[in-house]
Symmetry: C2
Subunit: 584 residues, 2 copies
Amino acid sequence: MYRSHTCGELRLTDENKIVKLSGWVQKIRNLGGMTFIDLRDRYGITQLVLDVESRKDLSTQARQLGREYVIQVTGKVAERSNKNSKMGTGDIEILVDEFVLLNPSDLPPFTIEDETDGGDELRMKYRYLDLRRNPVRRNLELRHKLGFEVRNYLNKQNFIETETPVLIKSTPEGARDFIVPSRMNPGEFYALPQSPQVFKQLLMVAGFDRYFQIVKCFRDEDLRADRQPEFTQIDCEMAFVEQQDILSTFEGMTKHLFKTIKNVDFDFDFIQMTFDEALKNYGSDKPDLRFDMKFVEMKEMLGQTDFVVFDDAEYVGGICAEGCAGYTRKDLDKLTDFVRKPQIGAQGLVYVKCNTDGTFKSSVDKFFDEAKLAKWAEAFGAKPGDLLLVLAGPTDKTRKALCELRLEMGNRMGYRDKNKFAPLWVVDFPLLEWDEKTNRFHAMHHPFTSPKKEDLALLETEPGKVRANAYDLVINGVEIGGGSIRIHNDELQHKMFQLLGFTEQDAESQFGFLMNAFKYGAPPHGGVAFGFDRLTSLFAGIDSIRDVIAFPKNNAGRDVMIDSPSPVAEDQLDELNIELKKAK
Amino acid sequence: MYRSHTCGELRLTDENKIVKLSGWVQKIRNLGGMTFIDLRDRYGITQLVLDVESRKDLSTQARQLGREYVIQVTGKVAERSNKNSKMGTGDIEILVDEFVLLNPSDLPPFTIEDETDGGDELRMKYRYLDLRRNPVRRNLELRHKLGFEVRNYLNKQNFIETETPVLIKSTPEGARDFIVPSRMNPGEFYALPQSPQVFKQLLMVAGFDRYFQIVKCFRDEDLRADRQPEFTQIDCEMAFVEQQDILSTFEGMTKHLFKTIKNVDFDFDFIQMTFDEALKNYGSDKPDLRFDMKFVEMKEMLGQTDFVVFDDAEYVGGICAEGCAGYTRKDLDKLTDFVRKPQIGAQGLVYVKCNTDGTFKSSVDKFFDEAKLAKWAEAFGAKPGDLLLVLAGPTDKTRKALCELRLEMGNRMGYRDKNKFAPLWVVDFPLLEWDEKTNRFHAMHHPFTSPKKEDLALLETEPGKVRANAYDLVINGVEIGGGSIRIHNDELQHKMFQLLGFTEQDAESQFGFLMNAFKYGAPPHGGVAFGFDRLTSLFAGIDSIRDVIAFPKNNAGRDVMIDSPSPVAEDQLDELNIELKKAK
């Protein structure tokens, strides 16, 4: 037996017990004939005391020790003279009687502390050491708890967790597939799933009624800062449901998670905001509703002005930053620089200070007198002391820039508290979006999404205006999940493939089995998928998903710890009937 | 809303309620002006009654219906005149008032009944219809429940479920890897994990203390009847443990599963049988202990005989089949044919009937008189009425054949009841096994398995005799799980790689990161992995794992439903920097 207790377990009530502990040496201090060791494991830290003065043997052993050595000790639990109320075990210490060195340690390349001196690359290379750090390990513990509670909730709701295959079939639609050469079927390949979409739909055809799975998915994309080639979805599907049934079920799940994990009560129905509203009011289909600061559209109010920037603009709109009229020239210059950054792309920023004395001061005083600015203030619902920030330009682009400005102001004004949560459903997404590059419609969600019944007639005439039974769960400006009611009728599905530019042959070879399945009594169904990495990072209060993944890959898709991907032996390729492309 | 209740829910207490149901048409019967429909969903079957005589509209609709049509009905719950006690809903029926056809169905290619007329290939091609059948769906529901209870148990025991990567690195050791070309790293490949072995060990180095994961693993093997290229493991690892700690924890899990899922109580400690004992007594490292019929070794007792078959044999041993002395010539011929089958490989079978009158009759009467046979009977503990079956030959081969004979007799004698469960741990496996083909030692378990401390000295002198801290959980003759205490010392690990014929360079390039991790305070650790497919099939009482997998592949590794693997587009290979091998 390596231990009788963990390092986080002992209390004053255990006084005088003889215990055995194992763990890592966090810290060693020598103090007048005594050596104090902080012994650490996953569960906590316990202070060990070695009387090196009277016990020469212990003294010798203690002298060998260094940080991260693994030791086992036996000793008596004693009350501490100077207690540490910050630690669960802070009332006691162990008077060590026996001592075993289980494994020494080289000096770690960075400190194993909450705040480490290790840079990102180093931490990833030695991820097994990085994972020893409390904040990283706690994220993974949180991930475990979230998964556990998701399953608890869905199990109670009669969902069946069903594994779908990982070795499936490549479909050129959407992002790039990772593919896997088949040795037994020369010249043929499996693909790794970008999502279990068609399988979960087949499970509905199979009458499984309620399916879920916490499942790895794969996308061979050029990785942006916060994308991973393999990621995890909470994937769900239900039969005999309408949109509201799904929203209710998963709003319930979200509330369950917040209650059980963070003790947050949402004792209200989540807002359901249409895609159009979201864009109009917040310039984004994932608005951060931790604060209001809704867009005010000004074009109509303005009418014809002498200010050519406004007159030429398709869109003029702004936000009201409460109590920010005191912003200095420098503050405002910084904001102007912010909106002009290439990734934001506004031409400039118009501001109006609603001074506390009732006067106005704006960057467009030349064009708009106090009376006109007062009218603006009224439209914005601004009070003395507030600051109006206005952008102008093409509608879509300007809304997007204004959204960024709103979020920036939210940050500056302290509205984006990581411990506050503002969930909403965004609904009524467009079914299709026009792709300039390929000059055809793409499915906004995926080709299995059902159009709204009331918009069906538009499919022939104005496909771009058709709304879908599609919805996203957004929390704090982050898309946590999304889904749709699916098409369950093979004719409508055929028409969708047509609209999306599939040839009859392509549709058949890629999705023939699904079309075929729809011929045998497919029930109405729909579902949703949550980004498990993203959900966990939201709960952890961190921005990157990388630190909620035990062994993430870097932006080049590499695992720098195991040094993968890597070349493979020639005969391995031979067996698989492939070879590397010769340089030309 | 598509339904107010499921098809398995309504009882007599719901009488007179107006309800809405949705589901599939299982059966239609016309009876004197009434049409009866069995409406089916995952939860059960409810009888619908359509008064087609007085309601012409319903009559028209009902006439369109066929098997597997999806319909929605509204009606009143009524008491049945002829109740069906076999169905939960058997006391009631629905007097249908409204009727919606949700989706028609082509005639299914096989009947959706518990016993179907569909052959294997057809069922796999239309798996979504096969999954509608109760026995198949129940297996998947069982799988869900098992996974859920595994998680419940391990969560209570402080295990953290942690996802390890699927895109990892190819290592030539062991079975063949599936590999995945990397687009972003031309000429390099990921591999799919055969198990998360090294990652779970790294999580122990990381101080995670207790890890588990229900996880897909991959092996590119030539598939035997009951192998799948992707399969699921319950993968577990613990730090600061000795072998007995792990056995206790997972014996607890096994008991929990049997109790919660099958209401079976194991109120005893599982037998721990050494590998040597298992081979000696049952000729297998996975003995079926639902019945005893232990081997009796006879060589010593026999001494020198006149029977050259015994005298020349390295091994002579047999089993006693209780009460089988009445076997006819024909029965015994069949058994002789059985042991002579090439896959069993015995030369012949010696039998001794212990007649109820106290006499003996054997196939070797010429060589052994009654007194000698009486001595045999005594050695076997045989009573009058029993039958002794004896094989002779080389030890390993003969034990194996005798094992098969024992199982065959177990079948014939009804000892192998699928509702009886006999668990045991097989322990003390050899560390290494000699491979005749490559003329070197292979790791019996895997290269990270720790030798027993007391056998360490033999590593240099007689490596083949070293026993490992390795163990298997065996139930009813099936290996359900296996694991080992791992090496946590980098020197010992290096020595193991040496013994296994790794060059320094190979060990470094393949497992350098693990060796390196061991330098930073690796704790003692060990673990176990259970075959989740196998476990589920054991609980389901079926022999094949295929029917506990939602979408299995056939013996050629093909998914015949989605027709995968399949060729991919040339430009997809181009992007991945590979090409198909040209025929030479």
